[in-house]
């Protein structure tokens, strides 16, 4: 057990903080929309320092970094207001390709990703359902030896700049949730569908099944991930709408109106394989990484607010001398400490190895609930304590507020994640055990020591399930 950073982790954090503090971006304004040409030199420097390959497996040319290492990097980004498509491009898209792709697909794309000459983006979120674990409405249908993709993707990070899009899609006619969709109009509306996605046919015992399942509702369809090159060939039926998110990051809405792709566009080859588990695990781990980044932004907002309130004078004295201000600063400090601890717990559990994707999703929900609420408090108080300056773009505080506002919405709100976590904990019963030092052993007497009996702790809790 080691409860402090190891030597390598300390080096990663130090060099990242050092390098990023010297970037021109740090001078501000923070989190404004800026052209790719402004941040690409920094991206290439990331490649030289090995950051773009950090979380990728060594056999793909990466460095086998774990969730703590990538978390430290993300936290440094947040600390210095660095806005780059690392989460979507590297932690999601590149890791997906490394995990699912054939050797040929990996060889074709990953060297360029790692050296910074090419970028990937993952198109996953959809207008029909804001639950990232729900079956996708975007569907892939057999078309000769290849596939046709129908659907719409929402605010794909770096979607307009990436050299290739990875598109998550449900495979038509496969998996238990597929039937209703395949009965729909074969040519979906090119606009995002305003109607709710038809629910998959519930199994006869769907209710009890759902509540007894330790995972949130993640099953119901077979998914695959397709790679669409964007630069060389502009596929027919593909439409992009470039936009920005509130933190100034470039994004794009993407419509797939029967886009044809060849068979080798699907990541992996094995017929009948299902990408859902890998997709969900990587989405969950990327959510945890976003929480680390938010912690960095919270620390920056807190540190700047502490300095500002010591300097700003009203009524003849620094406003930090007022108790009402001091207590808010103290609450902000507590929020930051707790949020960091939540991120560390989630990352350490990921790095220790997880039994199933549901465990990663539960950890992501825990972190997002905790860090999301803390981010809301810290960012709101940072603006409040800056007074008028807090709502102007003269200081980085407004940018940090916009960044942390986006974070709360990204991949599901804190309240929604809390519900996910509550449901998962109640179903699995793992909340009865220590979450830092969970028990692998068993007590002889499960009736009298239920808390420490692993086998009984994993039995579904009877309550809240009716």
């Amino acid at each position: 057990m080691q409860l402090t950073l190891n030597e390598q982790q300390r080096l990663i954090e130090e060099s990242a903080l050092n390098f990023l503090s010297r970037q021109p971006d740090v001078a501000g304004p923070w989190y404004d929309a800026r052209p790719e040409s402004r941040w690409m030199p920094m991206w290439r420097a990331f490649a030289e320092m090995g950051w773009l390959g950090l979380p990728l497996p060594a056999e793909a040319g990466g460095f086998d970094g774990g969730a703590v290492e990538t978390g430290l990097l993300m936290r440094a980004f947040g600390r210095h207001g660095i806005n780059v498509p690392y989460d979507g491009g590297i932690l999601l898209a590149a890791r997906l390709l490394a995990a699912l792709g054939t050797p040929a697909q990996r060889d074709r794309w990953l060297p360029g990703v790692i050296d910074g000459s090419r970028r990937l983006a993952l198109a996953h979120d959809e207008a029909q359902c804001h639950d990232p674990w729900a079956p996708r409405a975007t569907v892939a249908r057999r078309d000769g030896t290849g596939w046709r993709l129908h659907g719409a993707k929402l605010m794909v990070p770096d979607g307009g700049g990436a050299d290739a899009l990875l598109v998550s899609a449900r495979l038509d006619g496969e998996g238990r949730g597929a039937t209703p969709l395949s009965n729909r109009d074969p040519k979906p509306d090119p606009q995002p569908d305003p109607k709710p996605d038809p629910q998959p046919d519930p199994k006869p015992d769907a209710n009890t099944d759902r509540n007894a399942d330790p995972k949130p509702d993640t099953c119901g369809a077979t998914h695959a991930v397709f790679l669409l090159p964007m630069r060389d060939t502009q596929a027919q039926g593909l439409r992009l709408h470039r936009c920005h998110t509130v933190d100034g990051a470039a994004a794009a809405d993407v419509w797939l109106d029967g886009v044809h792709v060849d068979a080798d566009a699907m990541l992996g080859t094995a017929e009948g394989s299902d990408a859902t588990a890998v997709l969900h695990r990587l989405l969950a781990e990327a959510t945890i990484a976003l929480c680390w980044e938010a912690c960095g932004a919270m620390q920056a907002a807190f540190a700047r607010t502490a300095v500002y309130t010591r300097q700003r004078e009203q009524f003849g004295r620094p406003i930090a001398s007022f108790q009402a201000v001091q207590h808010r600063l103290a609450e902000m400090a507590v929020c930051c400490e707790e949020a960091v601890a939540a991120c560390e717990l989630a990352a350490l559990r990921v790095d220790a190895g997880l039994a199933h994707p549901g465990a990663a999703i539960a950890l992501a929900a825990m972190a997002k609930s905790k860090v999301g609420r803390a981010a809301r408090y810290v960012s709101q108080q940072a603006v409040q304590l800056h007074g008028g300056m807090g709502v102007s773009e003269e200081l980085p505080i407004a940018g940090l507020f916009r960044k942390l506002t986006r974070f709360q919405q990204q991949g599901g709100s804190p309240s929604w994640h809390a519900a996910q976590y509550g449901r998962a904990m109640l179903a699995s019963g793992t909340w009865r055990d220590s979450r830092t030092l969970p028990s692998p052993g068993a007590w002889g007497d499960s009736r009298t020591l239920p808390s420490s009996n692993r086998s009984s702790a994993e039995a579904p809790a009877p309550w809240i399930s009716n």
Partner: protein, 401 residues
């Protein structure tokens, strides 16, 4: 960073479990489960203290020659986690956790020989005489005075919120021995026999319906000067040292989780009686339960990390204010969750017949504990330095004001 138990820690945990399995009786476990007050009654905590002492695990923080274990802080966390999750009673902390370290640090050899063995054996049951009617969070405002008279002090005044004064045979108290200079510099630390003439103990009814605290009056009570710990007028240093242990040496998260388990057990019992949570109610409970779990998980990690960075015997310093603040709020959050989940049953007040009328099982009696526990939990952000005091300490130290 990693959370893997070393082989030594895993073996230690195994040892603790074996001990709990062998010694922790259903009666003691039930006694702790049904305790809604701050500490279990002496007939629950006493036998458990004796078992721990026999095993050599009663006073991990004391020096080895006095029965200390030499455990690392993380080892102590493992021990506390196993005890709490198994439902072991809380040891009454006044002697073993609070006064013991003060005597070890500031007491004379004679005082150590006289008091420490009786703390360990449980022959002395201590209470703490700090707060007064005019001195709560502002402890230095205390006015109970001790005037020299021959070899004695003559003590007059009143102490308030004295937990278990009605059980205790001794009190450690802060008294005013001087009105010169800084208020803090006129305070001494005295050990007082509760059966001395002139002491009156008045019970105070509290919000949760337990008899936990008292007001203690001193009417010219004679206390030998030999019962003073440390120099005259140097009692504030003892108090600060003790408060550091009160705030920081406690390991909170395991007991918070066992409190949450009680909420879970109560809900299971209500559902066994046929209670249903439907639709929006269920969704709401999922959110609330998820938030409490996430808060508790993060707090547990923060606490373990803080402990992991300490050397044995070291106090965590100002971070203990963050831990104290969050632990007390979590206690209240869990209490709130419990009452909210009770729904209509959250109105019923200490009705021993309720469970039996429905023919419920043994878990039924736990249902009635949630409401008193929640009411009592309101005190947790008040005693030991109110939440506002902790925020002030955090602002000054962590924020650097």
């Amino acid at each position: 960073m990693d959370l893997q138990l070393t082989p030594e820690l895993a073996a230690f945990r195994h040892e603790v479990r074996a001990f709990l399995r062998d010694r922790l009786t259903p009666a003691l476990r039930r006694g702790q489960r049904l305790t809604t007050a701050m500490y279990p009654e002496p007939e629950i905590s006493g036998p458990w203290q004796a078992m721990l002492r026999e095993r050599g695990w009663l006073v991990p923080l004391w020096p080895k020659e006095w029965g200390g274990t030499g455990w690392s802080p993380v080892q102590r966390f493992v021990f506390e986690t196993e005890c709490a999750l198994a439902g072991a009673p809380l040891v009454h902390p006044m002697g073993v956790r609070l006064l013991g370290p003060v005597i070890l640090r500031f007491g004379t050899e004679a005082q150590k020989q006289r008091y420490l063995p009786r703390i360990l054996s449980g022959d002395d049951y201590w209470c703490q005489g700090f707060s007064e009617p005019g001195a709560g969070s502002d402890l230095a405002a205390l006015r109970t005075r001790a005037v020299r008279d021959g070899d004695d002090y003559v003590v007059s005044g009143a102490k308030l919120w004295t937990t278990h004064a009605h059980h205790a045979n001794r009190m450690f108290a802060l008294v005013r021995t001087s009105n010169e200079g800084r208020r803090q510099d006129g305070i001494s630390f005295l050990l007082i026999d509760m059966d001395a003439p002139g002491i009156t103990v008045r019970p105070i009814a509290t919000i949760g319906g337990d008899h936990d605290v008292n007001e203690v009056f001193f009417d010219e009570v004679r206390v030998p000067q030999a019962n003073r710990i440390g120099e005259e007028n140097a009692g504030w240093a003892c108090a600060r040292y003790l408060l550091e242990f009160e705030r920081g040496a406690g390991i909170f998260s395991p007991r918070l989780r066992s409190q949450l388990m009680r909420v879970g057990d109560a809900m299971a019992a209500l559902q066994a009686r046929g209670l249903r949570h439907d639709g929006a109610q269920r969704e709401l409970l999922h959110v609330r339960f998820g938030e409490v779990c996430a808060d508790l998980d993060a707090f547990e990690m923060l606490e373990l990390k803080t402990l992991g960075q300490l050397t044995p015997g070291q106090s965590p310093g100002p971070v203990s204010s963050i831990l104290k603040l969050r632990a007390s709020r979590l206690k209240q959050q869990i209490g709130e969750l419990g009452v909210e989940m009770l729904g209509l049953e959250g109105q019923r007040w200490r009705d021993d017949g309720a469970a039996r009328a429905d023919g419920g099982g043994s878990d039924d009696e736990i249902v009635g504990t949630l409401l008193p526990e929640y009411l009592n939990s309101r005190a947790f952000t008040i005693f030991g330095g109110a939440a506002e005091v902790q925020l002030g300490i955090i602002a000054r130290s962590v924020v650097g004001l």
